[in-house]
Amino acid sequence: MVLFSSRAMPHAELTAIGRHLADCPECQGLLVSSLREGGSEPPSFTLAPEFWLRHEHLDYDQLVELSDDRLDADERESIDAHLRLCATCQEDVRTFLAFRKEIESELRLPYSPALAQAPPQKRNWQGVWNRLAWKPIYAAAAIILAIAFIIGIAALLKRRTDNLQAGNAPLPQVSPSTTENPIAPSTPLGTTSPETPVLSLNDNGHVIALDKSGKTIGIDEVPIQIRDDIAQLLKTERLQTPNQKELLGEESGLRGSSEKPPFRLIYPARIVIPSVRPTLRWESAPGATSYRVYISDARGTEVTKSDALSPDRTNWTVDRPLKRGEVFTWSVIAVFDNKEIISPGPSSPEMKFKVLSAKSFEQLQKLRNSGSHLALGVFYAREGLHDEAQREFQILLRENPNSDVAKKLLQQAQTRRSR
């Protein structure tokens, strides 16, 4: 009867015992005793809907049907009822809808195996040459184009030298790297513009150039506003960066003792970040038994906080999306056996960061598809994402090791970052 009451018997045996039980009062008594054996508790239950809905988390199929608007009214109502109660499923739906929107255009892009095997930034030029060599006419055409290109650059350099000798104001330097760089440009200047460029840069396998009229060439897929910024940058060699006074925190005497905290907050520190759920990082506080992270908005209202994090954790990924375009303040409390220490301490300015606005983020997505390090660097710098700008300009300098413009851009990005 013990086995029957837990129903962990072969089905045929269960059925046979069930039939017998229905007609045998004695065995019914045995069943009751057996059910009570495990330590019977008083019956208690709830009729609250949230209790009954607590296991009804959305599965993948429901998510897809919900996002396709294919649910019938009853099921939609049941899902809505669960979503009102379950923060996890709410976030599941939100992120899934955002993902679908984000990849909508990508779903139409073909991804053949050949594409999949070719790293975008490491082209095998030897292989390209070998393939050309099999077709002599193409190889000859390539050589002629290369010679024409070199002559064009040489003529440009000569003209610039003449200008300088004539005492004209110096123009931004043409990058000689276009001829020295073994990576051949995929869009030779002579084929994209009748104008002779006054400046050009290798950029992820393309050449971006500025013609005499001040127009940029070779970045047609970049939004016009960024193209204008790039043109302006190439003319002035000055990186546009935003005023980020809002990210400079104020000192406050309300956040604990004046003791200097034994640990610092590392990231994000007075910068703009693209992610709505950044991973915050801080230094380890020796002897701490746990950490707690707090994030508040510009009005000082707490937005979210972490649970108690173990002492070996010195990072925490924000558990909910932060609002785009907003400035946030964050702090970490290190808990010790007999005290708590907050960083930044009261003698230090508040630690703030800003989440990139929705409009700028949308623009960023487009720029990423372009693959232009120059365009991304200009965008990042303009938006105040100095780490990212520096990284893009580092790559640009690697591709243009002799370009003064690329060097200046990197230097300016580094200066902005260290401010």
């Binding site: 069930g18 039939r19 229905a22 059910l35 709830t46 809907p49 109502e77 599941d92 991973t279």
Partner: protein
């Protein structure tokens, strides 16, 4: 081997048995009477996993696998107790079962962190909606890859092959040098991963690879339903006591058949017991009355009882209605039952 005095009394018949078949019989009793109920309740509470009394779940292979994994661990531990050279001991069987189950559930929760689950959903959508990608099942495993790989035979070595973490790190830094991979479009990452592997990969393994590439961290372990908010209405709608249970049974008989069945099949009391168990244990009904009142054969009652409590999906299948209908029937049932029962909620407590 430890002295029998160190062991939980519940284990003594099993440990004292000298005959092999006798010992196996006692083992079955321990598993059926103590392990199965405990594990079923824990799986529901921690993971919203519903398995029947035989560890089966029609809709959730993971739930079945986990149930079997836990039972195997318990059986192994009980076998170890009988080894002459073993120093193992179990002083509290129920506590031991609860600990093994909790550990296994925690492992699953770690793998099922919300961010990882969302990544898996996104990957499934991408793989099923992009014409160059595919996801398919073979030999009980869900595979992901390029569409043209669907019919390719994968060698046994590749099937069992795991991805070396150092190789993965090297791949990541070679493909996305200096890039924040969290911001790289998922289709691009998937394309690169398939190009790198040049073979199909288990969907779960793909999730792990992409999670590593994008530095998606697991959040602290919590049970899913802990994120479900409750309010005062929960406390107000709480009922207890034998008399209230009797009234519940009377009220159930006044509901429509659909409302009653939906409520009965999904009912779970605060201890995790199903409705039939609670009614029988408290002698509100006999086995025969249960069958007669619910207008079902005793065979059917036994069959349903071994599956209860059931989740909405299983109830919908059992009653041959949509999940939305199940929700509607239950909502109406709860409303009617509240009206009938809440006025008596303060009476006749134990």
């Amino acid at each position: 081997m430890f002295a029998l005095g160190d062991m939980d009394q519940l284990l003594l018949p099993y440990l004292r048995a000298t005959d092999h078949s006798d010992r196996e019989q006692h083992l079955q009793e321990i598993l059926s009477a103590y392990a199965v109920p405990e594990v079923r309740i824990a799986l529901r509470r921690r993971l919203s996993f519903f398995v029947d009394a035989h560890g089966k779940s029609r809709h959730n292979q993971d739930a079945e696998d986990l149930f079997q994994e836990i039972m195997t661990k318990i059986v192994q531990a009980l076998h170890d107790l009988t080894e002459p050279s073993s120093n193992a001991k179990i002083e509290d069987l129920k506590e031991y079962i609860a600990r093994v189950t909790a550990n296994c559930c925690n492992d699953v929760l770690r793998k099922q962190s919300p961010s990882r689950t969302r990544l898996k959903y996104n990957l499934r959508f991408l793989l099923t909606h992009h014409e160059d990608f595919a996801v398919w099942k073979s030999a009980g495993v869900t595979w992901a890859g390029l569409r043209e790989w669907r019919n390719e035979r994968v060698s046994a070595a590749e099937l069992s092959g795991s991805i070396d973490s150092q190789e993965l790190a090297a791949f990541r830094s070679a493909r996305w040098p200096g890039e924040n991979t969290k911001q790289v479009a998922l289709p691009r990452i998937v394309r690169e991963v398939f190009g790198w592997l040049s073979r199909p990969v288990e969907l779960d393994q793909l999730v792990s690879i992409v999670a590593t590439i994008q530095s998606i961290e697991d959040l602290p372990t919590i049970a899913l339903h802990e994120n479900v908010s409750t309010d005062n209405s929960s406390a107000q709608a709480r009922l207890e006591g034998k008399d209230v249970l009797r009234r519940l049974w009377q009220a159930l008989r006044e509901l429509s058949t659909e409302q009653r069945d939906v409520f009965c099949l999904g009912f779970e009391d605060e201890s995790g017991r199903d409705l039939f168990t609670v009614l029988l244990e408290n002698e509100i009904v006999t086995f025969r009355e249960l069958a007669e009142e619910l207008d079902r054969s005793t065979d059917d009652i036994v069959r349903l009882w071994s599956k209860m409590p059931m989740d909405n999906k299983s109830i919908a299948e059992e009653l041959k209605v949509s999940r939305g209908r199940v929700y509607q029937h239950r909502s109406r049932a709860l409303e009617k039952l509240k009206k009938g029962l809440l006025p008596f909620s303060g009476e006749n407590k134990y």
